[in-house]
Symmetry: C2
């Protein structure tokens, strides 16, 4: 396209340079590592190149960039609505947890003490030797504060004040917050020292009600994953060794990534009376007796971004389902000179308005500083579900060129049909992405009946492996040590089936799902 | 009402007891301290009794309760929309700031080092003497991390990577986050060690554009305060000594509370090139030269909750403007026996549906565990704008009893008119609350021309005092030390007016606003 530019002024000279720069960037971004070459590298590059997130100057902490945060906002909005529809309210509890609180529930502190950020001082001062600012030794806290890794302890310390009677129950509260776990090996979205999440904390009068709540929230998460993220998940319970520190039962949803590894996408815990006992939270029953309340907690985090990316994206970049796409449709004009751009805008502007009125988010990218090829590449990389292109010939013919991101198919659509077509695609792309991911998963659940077969499938194919297990920690540990695969869950819908443990030959009445996992 | 209950069963006996408890609670909550007795005590009691927030077990950190958080969510939604409409996008930056970052901008570190939470370690462990868990001395961080008191430094460290050319500008980003400032004297919402806020951080190619941005955001804040919170504000600039640490100019909006004290409700800072220089952020201009970028930052916080409460509420409790009320209309049934409640519900349910369809949030409080009087009291305390009551006589007459919270007026409204009436009230209460607050403020801006008059007005009347000032730090400091009043702002719309400083007699060409402040 360079040859069509008449270079008659400094601005146009610059314009040419920009085109050169753009062309360069275009080539650069095509350099995304292929999934088949190095899946892990592909993921890391994609997250940064698609402007989702990047590492910060603080070890293990990420910066979530506007485009990535835009997807997270859509996730938050959908989840928040679902939480409210199931009777929950939002609240906010302190970032800091006194060290003594963390210790009150024995298994909880075991789970979280090893990787936490500890605040010990509350002031800096100028060093007397002029070497800069230092921590003021006179400003030491009497009791150290832990930056919350999860909020059960501070919340149950509060619930003690809020719960007196059965009339105060159930207490159904959610919090959107940041939490910190001092992970040593971090990866953008998947494992970061600080991450964003929501944590629900509920209190109930009966065990049954608390279990129902924990199960309900697992179902809400599964609904969200499948219907908004287009990520099929398997619902199940965790084995004892994989349970949340302090839980009686951990429910989870497990997704399968394109490299055959599983990813835990959300958990919901039935906490029994553990925290009520640790924080002495009792309620007066209708009958007048005093009883400890029953608890749940449940959470999903920015880790969902990792699941979304790794389920759908391809070697060209992100593929985002319409329901979570910050930009659902992008319109790219193809023109020579600003007069032609004006003509195109006259046609495009009413379309933009009409689509927005239907609640579809549209971007008309009329930047004159970038070439269409650059733009095509950029929106492909960013996973915009539908791209429309319109040039002088389309103007003449009353058409658009339409490309869908999920299948990379292109077609010419009459301008009169384009709104209906886009409305159809918002549904169809969502469905198609789910179906594609479901097909992949279906093809990657393998039943095995021997440990040798297990190892072979794990090595050659990956995915979920459905096998009999004797129910012991020792066998679970042995498989983990020997193969790196863990029991992802005991599926909720697992059939009763007589069998023998693939490792020990001991009796088993249910298959569980193993996989290597993120 | 107790005498009408036939006590024939254990449940009913319990019911009676509940009524007794309710009656007690009702009397208790009427015990809200009067504003005229002790304004500060009234505020503290109201925040807790109206279920907005409470102190936590962590020094200076509050728990924002669901009802309070519901108001904050409405504030967030309205502000977020305004930010996006003015071209800003949300992103998320790390909670932690390496100590060295904070030091890079000299006046900034002076402003924030004295009251910050410092993370020094990343692990706890069991004490060898079995005395509990302790900070692991082997897990000391190489460089201490500060819990962000504000994010200029970590953000500008990031912007260095994001900004290369004029094409990357303007960069218009906002973050919703928690921040920590280790305040020694804290009060719920007004001054807490941790608080929630939004912080905008923008980068521009020119000084002019950055100043326009800072002014724009001051205007956005004023618009929000006046049109959503119904809180009139004065727009102005801060004097040098009241400026944000690192700013060239601080714009602010100042509100007046019912006790005659001012409250800074939002600030917007023109930061010049201070942070660009501190973090070496340059951009290539169109002409090819390299220049430092120009910056702004701007924020409002959960402090707005304090402004909202103290502007409107009365001795009966909160008064919330319709635009921010989590519940805009409450309907309380007055009945004897569940049959009557059923009859009332048949009439009320369609009304609830109709109001909700119009986007009005309604609660039908059909709890059988609480008396109408208790409910009336509760919703008055919680500031619900409109209360409808409906009893058997209303059913017969086809009416509702309607009470508006702002004026405490009651009237009987025909059921056929009630929707239209409520729609009208949503506007009218909002307007009336603003007008009432504006009238109060108008009556509490006093022009004075001598320091004696100044002291007299400050003592006897409070409010804003408009006076001439010689522009010197010394005079400002003297007034502050002698009277506790500070210069709240130099109003944007202050007229040119020849005068002499009320303290020193030196020439002045503009009046500034003094007040005691929160």
């Amino acid at each position: 396209m360079l040859n069509i530019l008449k270079i008659t002024s400094f601005t146009q000279l610059l314009y040419t340079n920009i085109h050169k720069i753009c062309a360069k960037v275009q080539i650069m971004s095509k350099n995304l590592t292929k999934r088949s070459e190095d899946y892990s590298k592909w993921y890391n590059e994609l997250v940064v190149k698609a402007d989702l997130a990047e590492n910060s100057g603080v070890r293990g902490c990420m910066v979530i960039k506007p485009y990535g945060y835009g997807i997270w906002e859509k996730m938050q909005a959908a989840l928040d609505k679902m939480f409210k529809e199931t009777g929950h309210e939002n609240a906010y509890f302190p970032l800091f947890i006194p060290k003594s609180y963390l210790s009150k529930e024995a298994s909880h502190v075991e789970g979280f003490a090893k990787e936490c950020a500890v605040v010990t001082h509350y002031r800096l001062k100028n060093a007397e030797d002029g070497s800069g600012i230092i921590v003021d030794p006179d400003a030491k806290l009497e009791e150290e504060l832990i930056v919350r890794p999860t909020s059960e302890t501070i919340i149950w310390d509060t619930y003690k004040k809020w719960i007196q009677s059965y009339r105060d129950l159930p207490l159904l509260i959610n919090q959107w917050a940041n939490v910190v776990r001092w992970e040593m090996r971090t990866r953008l979205f998947l494992r970061t020292a600080e991450f964003l999440w929501q944590e629900g904390h509920t209190a109930h009068a009966t065990e049954k009600e608390a279990i129902e709540e924990a199960e309900q929230m697992m179902n809400v998460y599964a609904d969200f994953a499948e219907n908004h993220m287009a990520v099929p998940v398997i619902k199940g319970t965790k084995t004892e060794s994989e349970r949340f520190a302090g839980a009686i039962e951990t429910y989870c949803i497990e997704a399968l990534m394109q490299d055959g590894k599983a990813l835990q996408a959300g958990t919901s815990h039935f906490l029994g009376q553990n925290f009520a006992k640790a924080f002495d939270v009792k309620f007066a029953t209708k009958e007048g007796s005093k009883e400890y309340v029953w608890a749940t907690s449940w959470g999903v985090s920015t880790r969902l971004m990792g699941a979304l990316i790794m389920t759908h994206s391809d070697d060209n970049g992100l593929v985002i389902p319409p329901k979570l796409a910050p930009i659902q449709v992008v319109i790219v004009p193809i023109y020579k000179g600003l007069d032609q751009l004006d003509q195109i805008s006259e046609t495009v502007n009413p379309l933009v308005k009409e689509l927005r009125a239907k609640g579809i988010s549209v971007k008309f990218d009329n930047r004159d500083t970038h070439k269409p090829g650059f733009k095509f590449n950029e929106y492909e990389l960013r996973g915009v579900p539908v791209r429309l292109a319109i040039g002088p010939r389309d103007l003449e013919n009353g058409t658009y060129e339409l490309a869908r991101r999920d299948t990379l198919q292109k077609e010419t659509v009459a301008a009169t049909d384009v709104v209906a077509k886009i409305e159809f695609l918002m549904e169809d792309i969502q469905k198609n992405m789910y179906q594609k991911a479901l097909d992949y998963r279906t093809n990657h659940i393998t039943e095995v009946n021997s440990y040798d077969e297990f190892k072979k499938v794990l090595k050659e194919k990956g995915g979920f492996i459905s096998a009999h297990w004797d129910g012991s920690k020792e066998t679970e540990e042995r498989v983990k040590n020997e193969t790196k695969a863990t029991i992802r869950c005991i599926p909720i819908d697992a059939k009763e089936e007589e069998g023998t443990c693939m490792v020990t030959g001991k009796p088993s009445n249910k298959r569980v799902l193993f996989a290597k996992a993120y």
